[in-house]
């Protein structure tokens, strides 16, 4: 029989986004509130001065959180429902499965993203080319987080451990690192530590695009190269090390 790849992708979206949102809307509220709550706090504390950075931070957090949610969701389906075992012994492919699950996370985050994009249009109002650059940085950020999330999910055998990792990584990479505020606010030598996080490069690029940060051309090129390179390396690492069938 001819098998539809698009059906396989849509199946993941239905299970992990549509049916879950329909039956457990409280998860949707949580997904919307997390990035917006930081935005509100930063806006209050900076008396509105950092609203633009905070909106960009919210977008980065939302995208990164998608990847981390993927980790928790795949682990949950694999360990608690044995879904991965059922799919391994079927014509479903791991590639379409993970693409579908990644798409489901974006769809799950659409309400939060829509609010943030609307706020961005009001407070940042980027031009078309700037919007394209912002989108490219966010997509690279998303792919990085998805690859990290998928690898962790396939290695995990316990859902409690999986959710703990998900929360820890989201906090470390989006709340502590200079995502909601400029990196220049961090004193030396701690500033160097921030460069261990991929979100720092995405935030620098995005803050520079709309003029919140003034970076040299070479720094911007290095930021793009590191973010793109890291995504590529992680894709290779995940494709080699993620578990599908056991040995």
């Amino acid at each position: 029989m001819r098998r539809s790849r698009s059906s396989q992708v849509v199946a993941s979206i239905l299970v992990n986004a549509v049916y879950e949102m329909k039956n457990y809307p409280i998860n949707l509220v949580n997904t919307v509130l997390s990035p917006l709550s930081f935005l509100v706090v930063i806006d209050f504390v900076s008396k509105g001065a950092l609203i633009g950075q905070a909106i960009e931070g919210g977008l980065i957090m939302s995208m990164f959180q998608s990847g981390m949610s993927l980790q928790g969701d795949i682990s949950h389906l694999k360990n608690d429902f044995k879904l991965q075992d059922m799919l391994v012994s079927s014509p479903a492919s791991p590639a379409t499965y993970v693409v579908g699950m990644a798409a489901s996370e974006i769809i799950y985050n659409l309400p939060a993203l829509a609010i943030l994009v609307a706020l961005g249009a009001i407070y940042i109002h980027p031009g078309l080319f700037q919007a394209f650059e912002l989108l490219a940085a966010l997509l690279l950020m998303f792919m990085t987080s998805i690859t990290i999330g998928f690898m962790f999910s396939t290695l995990s055998s316990d859902i409690v451990q999986s959710f703990a990792w998900s929360r820890l990584l989201t906090t470390v990479f989006t709340a502590i690192t200079p995502v909601y505020y400029p990196i220049t606010y961090i004193p030396y030598p701690f500033r160097y530590l921030a460069y261990f996080s991929p979100t720092t490069y995405a935030a620098e690029i995005m803050q520079n695009v709309v003029g919140f940060l003034q970076l040299s051309e070479s720094t911007v090129i290095v930021d793009w190269a590191i973010l793109g390179g890291l995504t590529a390396v992680l894709l290779v690492v995940v494709s080699r090390n993620a578990r599908w069938k056991e040995v």
Partner: protein
């Protein structure tokens, strides 16, 4: 060609645990094959290897000429499994579960929806098709899992202890589903329940301590054991002299004499004369199981965590 064949199939978890030790057998890949064995006997490991979920340490296996390791992708086009601890996804309904399972297998939405509805109706689940899985009883949840694989195009289905935890009525109800499934497919099931295997299996495999100790139809396995007949006496009954068989006493004090047909009838004659109550008949599958597996195999925890191979291609 319609055969399930394993040749020296072994599986080691780490250095010490040998879950399967050179399992070799062949059986027709039609009807129902029931694999019985104690906890930790290696049943789940064998199922997972055959269902391409787990790679063997050594040996080979094929179903209908398709190698489970070398041609795993080809075999996956034809198989479906309900793992031992599978559960229906709590935030979905049986209809949504079946629909999305079929879509994962590559069916278009409209075809998947049609098949899902037919399958649920066939298992009399149409009334609960739109009820959330978490609100269903344990038996109905197991039926919903069966509906998923029944709706698929797979003609080789693995069910790992599908009736564990079900009450006797739900279990017997489930047997009907298995017979339904087996009409046009090959069902490979594992079970703890000997009665279930006896009722359902066209072919039976008995696994003990990672080794296959018997395979064949129930009558053929019965033919291979030493003692063909069983005489049972109530607790505290005087036990007659037994020269060719053996006498065992159960936990409830019931005495069982396992012996050949001639001695069994000779003993029964003596018991009749003495006015002792007794029952006589060919050995049951329980007796066969205990004779073949014996007390030498230890119930071990079958490992569930393993290392994995790399790569998405699986």
């Amino acid at each position: 060609m319609d055969q399930l064949i394993t040749n020296g199939l072994s599986k080691k978890y780490g250095e010490k645990t040998e879950a399967l030790q050179g399992v070799t057998f062949s059986a027709p890949s039609s009807g129902i094959f029931a694999l019985i064995g104690r906890n930790g006997a290696g049943k789940t490991t064998l199922v997972r290897i055959l269902a391409t979920e787990l790679a063997p340490t050594s040996g080979s296996a094929s179903i209908n000429g398709i190698d489970v390791v070398k041609e795993d992708k080809k075999l996956r086009e034809r198989i479906a499994i309900v793992p031992q601890e599978a559960r229906t996804i709590s935030w979905m309904t049986p209809k949504q579960s079946t629909l999305t399972y079929l879509m994962w297998r590559g069916f278009e939405y409209s075809e998947a929806k049609k098949r899902a509805e037919e399958s649920l109706a066939r298992l009399k689940l149409d009334k609960v098709a739109d009820t959330l899985n978490r609100k269903l009883s344990g038996g109905t949840k197991r039926k919903a899992l069966a509906a998923m694989v029944l709706a698929s195009e797979a003609d080789i289905i693995f069910l790992d202890e599908p009736t564990t935890g079900l009450d006797p009525i739900s279990r017997k109800d489930f047997w009907g589903i298995l017979r339904e499934l087996a009409k046009d497919r090959f069902i490979f099931l594992t079970t703890h329940y000997l009665e279930e295997a006896e009722q359902l299996a066209d072919t039976l495999g008995i696994l003990g301590g990672g080794r296959l100790v018997g395979v064949g139809t129930v009558p053929s396995i019965r033919g291979r054991i030493r003692h063909q007949y069983s005489v049972k006496l109530p607790a505290n009954s005087p036990v007659p002299l037994v020269s060719q068989g053996e006498v065992t006493t159960g936990g409830n004090g019931e005495v069982q004499i396992l012996t050949n047909e001639d001695e069994a009838f000779a003993i029964s004659k003596k018991l009749s004369v003495a006015g002792t109550r007794f029952s006589i008949g060919p050995v049951s599958l329980d007796d066969i199981f205990f004779q073949l597996v014996g007390e030498s195999t230890h119930a071990e925890q079958e490992p569930t965590t393993t290392s994995h191979e790399g790569g998405w291609s699986g």
